[in-house]
Amino acid sequence: MIVKPDPKILIVDDDVDICRNLTDILTDLDYRVDSAHDGPSALELVRRTHYDIALLDLRMPGMNGLELYREIKKLRAGTVAVLVTAYASGATVEEARAAGAWQVVSKPVDLVTLLALVDEALGQPLILIVDDDRDLCANLWDLLRDRGYRVNLAHGVREASEKLADSSFKVVLIDLKMPDGNGAEVFRQVRGANPQARTIVITGHRPEMDGMVASVLAEGADAVCYKPFDVPRLLEALRSLARPGGELLESRPGAPPE
C-alpha cells in the first residue's frame, strides 16, 4: 500500500502577511505549504521539491511572477501556476497564458474560487514525458496542458529517474532511444517507482527498435506510439489510460481581472 502524500503548494509573494495567511488557510486544509518572498529564493525551493501548484504574485521587486513562472517551468514543467495580481491589463493576462500559466486571479483573492482552482488543478492527471527532443516535448506540453493534463518533462534517463522519485504519475510517455540510455530502463524504473502508472512508449525507429518494443510490451507497457504521431490516436490512448471512463476535459481559460 502506497501512502499518497498530501499535495504541495508553493506561495510566492513579497508581502509576508499574505504568505502567512495563505499558509494558515492551506495548512488547515492539510496541504503542505512552502512560501518565499522573492523569485530567487522561490527557485531554490523549486530545485529541491516538486510542487503541484505555485501561487505567484505577479508584481514583485526584482523578478516578477511571470518571469519566475518561466524559470519554474524550465525546472518543473508539471507545476501548475496561478498568478495573483492587484491590477492586470488584458495584455498581461494574455502574456501569462501564452507562457503557460494556468490562471490569473485578482486581488483581493476570493478564497472559495482559489480553493476550487486548487482542487481542480490537483484533479488534473499528472503526466511525465521522457524524450530528449525538446521541441517535441514543448509541443506535447502545449497540446496536453490545453486538454487539462499536468505535464512534467524529462529529457533523459537520469532526469526521468529524478522526476519519478518526486511525484506519482498517472501516465508516463517514454521515448525508447535517448542519448544517455534507452527507454526500456526508464520503463523498468517506472514499474519500480510508480507501479500504478500507465505507460506509453514512443519510438521513431521501427525495425531496429522492434525487439525493445516487443519486450516492454511483454513486461506490461500499455501502448506504443510511432513517430511522427497520429495526434488524435495519441490523445485517445492517453485519455483512456489517464481518465478511464472519464470525459475529455478542456482546460478552462482564466477569467481576466478587471
Binding site: R20, N21, G62, A86, P108, V109
Partner: protein, 394 residues
C-alpha cells in the same frame, strides 16, 4: 470665457488694429458693391475645400450639408459688411471657432480659407469700383476690410484655442484618472487581500488555535492602517500646505533627513555640505520631505548596496544639492516620466515620491532635475533659492 469678456476682448482688439467709425462706414458702403459677387465667391470657396482631404473630411453630410454651409457662409459675409459689430456679432464669430474644434477641422484651414475669401472680396470690390474719383477711397476701403477680417480671424482663433485646450484638459484628466485607478488599485488591493484571507481563516479554519486567531486579528488591524495610509498619502498630495519660509542651512536639513532614513550598512554615505553655503529661504519641514524621498529612492535603486553622495554648492543666488547614487539607473524612456504623479518603476508604492518632491520644490521657489545612466546610477539635483538673494529681490 464669459460673453461679456469675449466682447470686451473684441473691443480691445478693435482698438489694437485702430478700428474707427470711418472703417465701419467704408465697409457698409462696400456692401452693395460686393453683394452681386457673393454667390460666386462661395461656390469657389467650397470647390476649393473639395480639393483638400483634410478640409473635405470634416464635411460628412454630403451635398445637402454643403448647401446648408453655403447658406451659413453667405450670412457670415453679409453680417461682416452690415456694420454692426456688437456682442451678438462677436458671439457668432466665437461659435465658428468652437464648432471647428467640435468637427475636428484643423485651424490652418481657417487661416487659408479666410485668405481665399479675402482675395475674392478685394477682387469683387476692385471690379465694381467706379475709378472716376481715383483709387484713394478704394485703397482705404480695402484696408478697412482687411482690418475687419483680421479681427474676425483673431476671435475665431481665440475661440478655437480655448475650446481646444478645454477638451485637451478633459482628455488628460481622464487619462490621469486611469493612472490613479491603476496605482490606487494596486496599493489598496494588497492590504485588502490580506484582510480578506485573514477573515476567511477566522471564519473557516477547522482547527483554529487562540494564538492564530489573535495573530489574524492583529494582521487585519495592521493592513487597515496600511490602506488608510494610502488614502492619506493621496489626499496629502492633493492638498499640500503653503510653505512657511525661514532661512535654513541645507546641510542641517540633509543630515536630519539622512539620519531619519537610517540607510543601514550596505549604503556608504558621503557628504560635502560646507558650512560656508548661504542659508536658503524655504519651509524646512517640507524640503526635508523632499530630501527624504530622494534618499529613499537612492536606497531602493541600490538593493545590493552602493554609495550615496550628497554634495552642496552655491550657484548664482541659489544653493544646489546633488543626491548621487551608484544604483541601477533609470532607462532613458522612463527619465522624462519619473516625476509624474502615480508613475512608478518600483513593484511597491504609489509613485508619488518624486511628484511630491517636485510639487514641494515649486512651492518653495526651487526646482528638481535628474540625470541618469543605466548601470551607473542617478543624480537628482535640488535647486533652492539662497536666503540673501531672496531678501535682496523683495
Amino acid at each position: 470665457m464669459e460673453r461679456a469678456l469675449r466682447f470686451e476682448r473684441y473691443r480691445e482688439l478693435q482698438a489694437y488694429v485702430g478700428w474707427t467709425p470711418d472703417d465701419t462706414r467704408r465697409v457698409m458702403a462696400a456692401g452693395p458693391r460686393i453683394e452681386p459677387h457673393l454667390t460666386g465667391l462661395i461656390d469657389d470657396f467650397y470647390e476649393e475645400i473639395d480639393r483638400h482631404p483634410g478640409a473635405r473630411n470634416v464635411i460628412t453630410g454630403g451635398r445637402e450639408q454643403v448647401e446648408r454651409l453655403k447658406g451659413t457662409l453667405i450670412g457670415w459675409l453679409r453680417e461682416l459688411l452690415a456694420g454692426t459689430y456688437d456682442s451678438a456679432y462677436v458671439e457668432r464669430r466665437w461659435r465658428v471657432g468652437w464648432r471647428h474644434v467640435e468637427i475636428g477641422l484643423d485651424q490652418v484651414y481657417t487661416n487659408v480659407a479666410l485668405s481665399r475669401l479675402r482675395t475674392g472680396l478685394c477682387r469683387a470690390l476692385e471690379q465694381s469700383w467706379d475709378r472716376a474719383g481715383g483709387d484713394g477711397e478704394l485703397d482705404e476701403t480695402v484696408r478697412s476690410l482687411n482690418k475687419l477680417l483680421d479681427l474676425d480671424l483673431a476671435i475665431i482663433e481665440h475661440a478655437y484655442r480655448s475650446e481646444y485646450m478645454d477638451r485637451l484638459q478633459q482628455t488628460e484628466r481622464l487619462a490621469t484618472l486611469g493612472q490613479v485607478a491603476g496605482g490606487v488599485a494596486h496599493e489598496l488591493r494588497n492590504p485588502l487581500n490580506v484582510v480578506r484571507t485573514s477573515v476567511f481563516y477566522l471564519l473557516n479554519a477547522r482547527n483554529p488555535i487562540p494564538e492564530k486567531t489573535a495573530e489574524h486579528l492583529k494582521r487585519i488591524e495592521r493592513q487597515v492602517t496600511v490602506a488608510d495610509g494610502v488614502i492619506s498619502a493621496l489626499s496629502n498630495f492633493a492638498k499640500m500646505p503653503l510653505p512657511a519660509f525661514q532661512p535654513v542651512q541645507v546641510s542641517r536639513l540633509a543630515h536630519e533627513a539622512l539620519e531619519n532614513e537610517g540607510l543601514g550598512d550596505s549604503v556608504r554615505v558621503e557628504t560635502d555640505l560646507p558650512e560656508s553655503l548661504p542659508p536658503v529661504l524655504v519651509d524646512g519641514d517640507q524640503v526635508r520631505i523632499v530630501f527624504a524621498n530622494l534618499i529613499r529612492n537612492a536606497r531602493d535603486a541600490m538593493p545590493q548596496g552602493g554609495s550615496l553622495t550628497v554634495i552642496g554648492r552655491a550657484a548664482d543666488g541659489c544653493v544646489e544639492v546633488d543626491f548621487a547614487d551608484s544604483g541601477t539607473g533609470i532607462p532613458q524612456e522612463d527619465l522624462a516620466r519619473v516625476m509624474e504623479p502615480l508613475y512608478s518603476t518600483k513593484a511597491r508604492g504609489l509613485g508619488l515620491g518624486l511628484a511630491i518632491a517636485r510639487a514641494i520644490l515649486e512651492k518653495n521657489n526651487g526646482s528638481l532635475k535628474v540625470a541618469s545612466a543605466l548601470g551607473t546610477g542617478s543624480t537628482f539635483t535640488v535647486r533652492l533659492t539662497a536666503s540673501s538673494a531672496k531678501e535682496a529681490a523683495t
